[in-house]
């Protein structure tokens, strides 16, 4: 392969990386700008999940003017869990995508692995937040307002933080897989061979 072809290939690779980074950044901006849509999607998933898990009666999107989960608990009382901006994952997800954009710009990280990590990270964040919302709904349904306050202000925050920390760990493990890079770290290997 000629030097020109190698340089051309590198330039193409760089262009692809920057294009993916731009796409991830655009997604991050879209998540922040359209956070209301994101909350509606999250509340829809939560409604389905809550109904599936508990069998409780859950009303559709039209039941509330804000993104919310409206359900009827055992005492036949209707409850409304509003999904606020801070209860949703839009901003956290946007932050994760910014990290992904930064990683994909470096030649060390394979764009494929970064995209895989972003997909896994997004799935984990969505899953953890859904678990949190359903947990809160169940606590409200079975325990009432007092335990709900505790679960919402404290346990929910712990679940969110642990979920985010776990997500970041998974993302970095996927992007920067442990161990030496094949064909790299040749100096260390040659030293060991020299002493063998």
């Amino acid at each position: 392969m000629t030097r020109g072809a190698v340089a051309g290939g590198a330039a193409t690779g760089r262009t692809i990386r920057y294009a993916i980074a731009g796409l991830l950044l655009a997604c991050a901006v879209a998540l922040v700008a359209g956070e209301q849509i994101g909350r509606s999607v999250e509340s829809s998933i939560a409604r389905w999940l809550l109904h599936t898990v508990s069998g409780m009666e859950v009303l559709g999107m039209h039941a509330s003017t804000v993104p919310a989960v409206v359900f009827r608990s055992g005492n036949l009382r209707w409850n409304v869990l509003e999904i606020t901006l801070e209860c949703a994952i839009a901003l956290t997800l946007a932050g994760l995508l910014v990290i992904g954009a930064a990683l994909v710009c470096t030649s060390r990280c394979s764009p494929g692995r970064v995209l895989l990590a972003m997909a896994a990270g997004t799935s984990l964040l969505v899953l953890v937040n859904q678990v949190r919302i359903v947990m809160l709904a169940l606590v409200l349904a079975h325990g009432g307002v007092g335990p709900f306050e505790w679960a919402h202000s404290f346990a929910g925050s712990v679940v969110s933080l642990a979920g985010l920390a776990g997500t970041l760990f998974v993302v970095f493990t996927l992007v920067i897989r442990p161990g030496a890079v094949p064909g790299r770290d040749t100096r260390t290997r040659s030293r060991q061979e020299a002493h063998a």
Partner: protein, 441 residues
């Protein structure tokens, strides 16, 4: 406004989560490495720092370099302790002292000690310059003595540094692995019983720093410090005639350079080095601000590390995370910490809404404490286990002292940033104090 609040809260949570991942990964890896090495947290907990050469295999020639500037209070016992090796040489660099450092070193060190006297305007140009001066003497002596450079180690010691008993017998075997270019010992603070500040420094070095350093063995990226720093001569020679940079943290710079050249950096749980802690708050601020400035300046080498194909992924990530700490954690956290506190107070009714009765307040409060202060509880237990002589009250106090001592980091990090912006790179050397002749237990 609600968007602004939500964004700041999200950034705070991201910073906490990132630091949690790094802290936990390093601490858990450290404990795992200790177990793998057949050691435990308490190993070296009651070490004595008197006879570093006992049981030494004498498998390497070792040159101890001690840069000194007005160290008459501590230099005598240091060179005296290093004089007993079968294949060791001590080189004291008197960097333009005004006191009797050189004379005391010559007298206490004996035949195996060489004193290099540097005079102004060449002296007092920083620790890196003093070490480079000693390095050229090492090269001359190695050539003159026809020693095999592959079997020569260089150890940087502080003027108040003391190696633990039998230290050489644990350090030298590490270098039998040809991939190992350097090794750093865990640091103990000798005057830890002096006051709260010296105790806190001991807690930081012996509890958190030491254990995370063990964890960094997994990636071969143990950070080098200025005391108890062992390097292979051939690894230093690859860096030219002046391996130590003019950086305020020349030790960290050296570590990055060695890693960039493909060397592994190691440590051992079976040896340590002790030194004086800084006894006054003013001196501690000056010292830590210098460390921060050096650490923050080294941050610009992240690009070099990241683009170096010789550095495996794990090493690159760990080194980058370590170099990012002041920029990604300390500086942002100095603001977010107060934001989080303000949020806690202003939203107290919502945050503590679960406290509806004395029982719920007690139980909920206990759970809230256990989760919120989990890292503090973890380091409390680690410190107590690292040295069983440390009582629980002291360990608990140190573990929770971060609430106040955070401010030391904030002041030093911002002070360092201001100095960087103003282009001030002067070296404020740590001043030592005279110690009683008897070694503390």
């Amino acid at each position: 406004m609600s968007m602004f609040v939500a964004v700041v809260n999200t950034v705070a949570v991201m910073v906490i989560a990132l630091s949690l991942v790094y802290f936990l990964a390093a601490m858990i890896a450290g404990i795992h490495e200790l177990r793998r090495a057949g050691a435990s947290l308490r190993t070296q907990g009651n070490a004595v720092y008197d006879r570093p050469f006992s049981g030494e295999p004498a498998s390497f020639d070792v040159y101890f370099l001690i840069p000194c500037l007005n160290e008459e209070a501590v230099i005598g016992p240091t060179v005296s302790a290093l004089a007993g090796g079968r294949r060791s040489t001590t080189i004291v660099v008197d960097d333009g002292s005004d006191d009797a450092t050189a004379a005391i070193a010559e007298q206490a060190g004996g035949a195996t000690t060489t004193v290099i006297r540097r005079r102004l305007p060449h002296a007092r140009a920083g620790k890196g310059a003093a070490l480079n001066a000693a390095f050229s003497t090492v090269l001359e002596l190695v050539a003159e003595r026809a020693q095999d450079p592959e079997r020569v180690l260089v150890c940087v010691m502080d003027a108040d540094g003391r190696l633990s008993d039998g230290a050489l017998s644990h350090i030298l075997p590490l270098f039998e692995d040809p991939a190992v270019g350097g090794s750093q010992l865990a640091v103990r603070i000798r005057n830890r019983d002096q006051n709260f500040l010296t105790r806190f420094q001991d807690f930081q070095f012996w509890s958190m720093s030491a254990v995370t350093q063990f964890g960094r063995r997994k990636t071969g990226t143990v950070s080098l410090g200025g005391n108890g720093q062992f390097t292979r001569l051939t690894a230093l020679r690859e860096l030219g005639t002046e391996p130590w940079s003019a950086s305020l943290t020349e030790d960290l710079d050296l570590a990055i350079s060695l890693i960039a050249n493909g060397w592994r950096l190691e440590t051992t749980p079976d040896a340590s080095v002790d030194q004086q802690g800084v006894e006054s708050l003013r001196r501690l601020v000056v010292q830590r601000r210098r460390w921060y400035q050096g650490h923050m300046t080294a941050g610009r080498r992240i690009g070099e590390v990241w683009s170096n194909p010789d550095i495996p992924h794990g090493r690159a990530l760990e080194v980058s995370a370590y170099l990012s700490v002041p920029w990604l954690f300390d500086l942002p956290w100095s603001i977010l910490w107060h934001w989080t506190l303000a949020t806690l107070v202003l939203r107290a009714d919502a945050q503590f809404a679960w406290a509806t009765s004395p029982v719920s307040a007690l139980v909920g409060g206990a759970i809230w404490y256990l989760v919120t202060f989990a890292p503090a509880i973890f380091t409390t237990i680690v410190y107590h286990r690292r040295d069983r002589r440390v009582g629980w009250p002291t360990a608990v106090l140190m573990g929770h002292a971060f609430v106040v001592m955070n401010y030391l980091s904030f002041v030093c990090a911002w002070g360092a940033l201001i100095r960087m912006v103003r282009g001030r790179t002067g070296w404020d050397k740590t001043t030592r104090t005279v110690e009683p002749s008897a070694s503390p237990a």
